[in-house]
Each structure stands twice: as structure tokens, then as C-alpha cells.
């Protein structure tokens, strides 16, 4: 299963084999959830939006045309749901650090946990200075691992526009984090 592409796995699912979907879910549960969590800054809301994203993947599986890339389509769905959540006023403007706790990638003692928490706090605060478009591109590239081409497809923007937003985001973050003690 590890050698199958996303599109092949999804085709398996469309042909009635659930393991294709399960493998995709396993591949994307971390990066997609990270993107959503960074966007909405609320864990419970991120859980709901993550679930809704894959529910729509299931519902609209028949509409997914052959030849399309799965990853941009998946993130497009997730981003649209995040935008809807913003419009409905479900997304808080302030970051609640106590709700942002996630399973640590590396867990090696209380000290490390505290250090990681501090780093995250700084990063979250720095991300607040970005525009929505910049934050979106940055999160998908840096935390979700999408390529710039895939981000362009997911955000329905030209590649150069995406690269420009990433440049701007990196400059702002460098200014915020580089100057911080």
C-alpha cells in the first residue's frame, strides 16, 4: 500500500475497497489536521472540520475525475470548510494555547514539553501577523507538506502568486521570530 499513489488508492476506494480510503486517511490525518488546526486555532473545531472534510471526500468520491490530483482536491475541501467556519464566526481571533495542545512528535520529559510549548506559542503569535492568504500558503507548505504546485491547485491561484505569498510570509515571520528574544 505504501507504494501506491494517492490517486491509485482513491481509485481503489471508488471501486469498492475501503482499504484505499483508510490508507489515504492514514497519510493525511496529520498534515491535513495540522493545516486545519493552524487555520482555525481551535482543536474541537479542527476535529469537526477534519471529519467533515473526509465525509465530503466519501460523499463526492464519484465526482472525482480521473487524472486529477487527490491532494489539492482534499485541501481545497478543507480550506473551503475553514472559510465557511470563519464566515459563521466559529473561528476565534485569539489563540488559545491550552486548546492547541497536540500529540507531541517527540516526547522526552517535562522540560522538553515546556520548551516545545514555548516555541509553539511564539510561532502561533508570529503567524498572527500574516494575512489569511499568506498563512494558508505557509501552513500548507511548511506543515502539511504540499508542493507549491499542489497549493496552487488547492487554492486555485497561479503558481507565481503562491510563491509570492510564501516569500512575504517568510519575511514577516523572520522579522517576528528573528527579533524575539
Amino acid at each position: 500500500m505504501m507504494n501506491f499513489s494517492d490517486e491509485e488508492l482513491f481509485e481503489e476506494f471508488k471501486n469498492g475497497r475501503a482499504h484505499g480510503f483508510e490508507e489515504l486517511l492514514n497519510r493525511y490525518k496529520r498534515p491535513l489536521f495540522s493545516v486545519i488546526l493552524k487555520r482555525v486555532r481551535d482543536r474541537q473545531l479542527a476535529e469537526d472540520l477534519f471529519q467533515e472534510t473526509f465525509m465530503r471526500v466519501i460523499e463526492h468520491a464519484d465526482k472525482f475525475k480521473e487524472g486529477r490530483k487527490f491532494s489539492p482536491w482534499l485541501y481545497r475541501i478543507a480550506l473551503n470548510l475553514c472559510i465557511d467556519a470563519h464566515r459563521k464566526g466559529l473561528v476565534r481571533s485569539e489563540v488559545r494555547m491550552d486548546e492547541m495542545s497536540a500529540e507531541p512528535a517527540v516526547c522526552s520529559g517535562t522540560e522538553k514539553k515546556l520548551e516545545n510549548k514555548e516555541i509553539r506559542k511564539r510561532i502561533e503569535a508570529a503567524l498572527e501577523v500574516l494575512t489569511e492568504d499568506q498563512r494558508e500558503v505557509f501552513i500548507m507548505r511548511e506543515y502539511a507538506g504540499l508542493s507549491f504546485k499542489e497549493i496552487a491547485l488547492a487554492t486555485e491561484s497561479p503558481l507565481n502568486t503562491v510563491l509570492g505569498r510564501m516569500h512575504s510570509a517568510l519575511k514577516k515571520l523572520r522579522a517576528q521570530l528573528g527579533s524575539a528574544p
Partner: protein
């Protein structure tokens, strides 16, 4: 940025490993010669280190993952006839298929109703026809009975007329004094007629 050979976008793609291999090799070699491009590349690299979140990427809860897995398995399970007609939320049954199935069911239901209704009407017609036939038969029988009755009434009236005539002749003969000699003959004829009349009357009463 003053370099004329490469722009920031190309350096960004290179920093994230998204340039074509041969192009990446050329840019890598260029970085050794161009301070401007090298500066841009180093800033990107250092910023990526600053934003490296040790707790990223986060993961959804196992409950959410299990729920999604369950829904996916339901999706690939072959739905039954009822599920195809009453569409659950996560079954992507085309609307056209649902409409067609509902129309077919309605057509079958209407057909069953019409056959049942027709069969009911047929049995009612059958009863009416049979009843009509029965009445007609009874009418024919009655006509036959009445006809036989008429025939025997006519016969009885004829016999009665004959008896009346014979009685008058007997009375005349008695008046004329000529009845004594021939009384036994007339009495025998009279008795015979009376017997025949009685037989006719008895037969009439059996009808």
C-alpha cells in the same frame, strides 16, 4: 534582488526541493558564485528553522479516525434495496437512480391495485350476470309452468263445459220421460265423465 540569472521564486523552489534535478544542480552551482542569491537562500533556510514546530504535525483523535473509517466501509458495502430507495446521508446514490426506483415502485403498486380492482369488478359482474341468467332461467321455468297451467285450465274448462252440456241433456231427458230407459246408459256416461273430471282436477292440483 540584483541577480539577473535567477529570481526569488526559483530560489524558493530550490530551497523546498521542487526544482527539476538538472535545474537544481545548476542553481546549486550558482549559489557558490552569487552572494545575492546565496543571501536569499540562507534567509529562507534560517526562517524555516525558526518556524519548525516540534509538536507539528498535530493529529486528530482516534475517535474521529475510527468514525471516518466506519463511514468509508459503509460506503463500499453493497446497499440493499431499501437503502437504495431511502438514501442515507453518506450513500452517494445518484438522484436519478433514486427517482427511477421510486417511479418503478409506484408503477408496480398501481399495477397491483388495478389488477386487484379489476378482479373485484369482474367478480361483481360475474355475480350480476349469473343473477341475471338465473332470473332469466326462472322466468323461462315460470313461463313453462304457467303455460302448462293454462293448458290444464283450458282442459279443465273444456271438461267442465262438457259436463254442463251433458247435465243439461240429462235434465232434458228426465223432463221428457225418456230418461228412465236410458238412465243407466246416461248414468254410466255421466259417471265416466265425472271420473274423468275428477282425475283432471287431481292432476291440475299437482302442478
Amino acid at each position: 534582488m540584483s541577480c539577473r540569472k535567477y529570481d526569488e521564486n526559483q530560489i524558493l523552489l530550490f530551497a523546498y526541493g521542487e526544482l527539476e534535478p538538472d535545474e537544481a544542480e545548476r542553481l546549486k552551482a550558482h549559489l557558490d558564485e552569487c552572494a545575492d542569491c546565496r543571501s536569499v537562500f540562507d534567509e529562507i533556510k534560517s526562517t524555516r528553522l525558526l518556524v519548525n514546530d516540534p509538536d507539528m504535525p498535530a493529529s486528530p483523535s482516534s475517535v474521529t479516525v475510527a468514525r471516518l473509517t466506519s463511514e468509508a466501509r459503509k460506503r463500499v458495502r453493497r446497499p440493499g434495496l431499501l437503502e437504495r430507495l431511502v438514501v442515507p446521508r453518506f450513500y452517494p446514490v445518484p438522484r436519478l437512480a433514486r427517482a427511477t426506483a421510486a417511479a418503478l415502485l409506484l408503477a408496480v403498486g398501481i399495477s397491483i391495485f388495478m389488477v386487484w380492482h379489476e378482479s373485484d369488478e369482474q367478480s361483481l359482474v360475474y355475480d350480476m350476470e349469473t343473477f341475471t341468467e338465473l332470473i332469466a332461467k326462472l322466468s323461462e321455468d315460470e313461463s313453462l309452468i304457467l303455460a302448462e297451467t293454462d293448458e290444464y285450465e283450458s282442459g279443465a274448462q273444456d271438461a267442465l263445459a262438457s259436463l254442463t252440456s251433458i247435465e243439461k241433456e240429462f235434465e232434458q231427458l228426465a223432463f221428457n220421460g225418456e230418461a228412465d230407459g236410458e238412465k243407466e246408459s246416461w248414468e254410466e256416461d255421466w259417471d265416466e265423465l265425472v271420473n274423468e273430471f275428477h282425475q283432471l282436477d287431481e292432476y291440475f292440483q299437482t302442478l
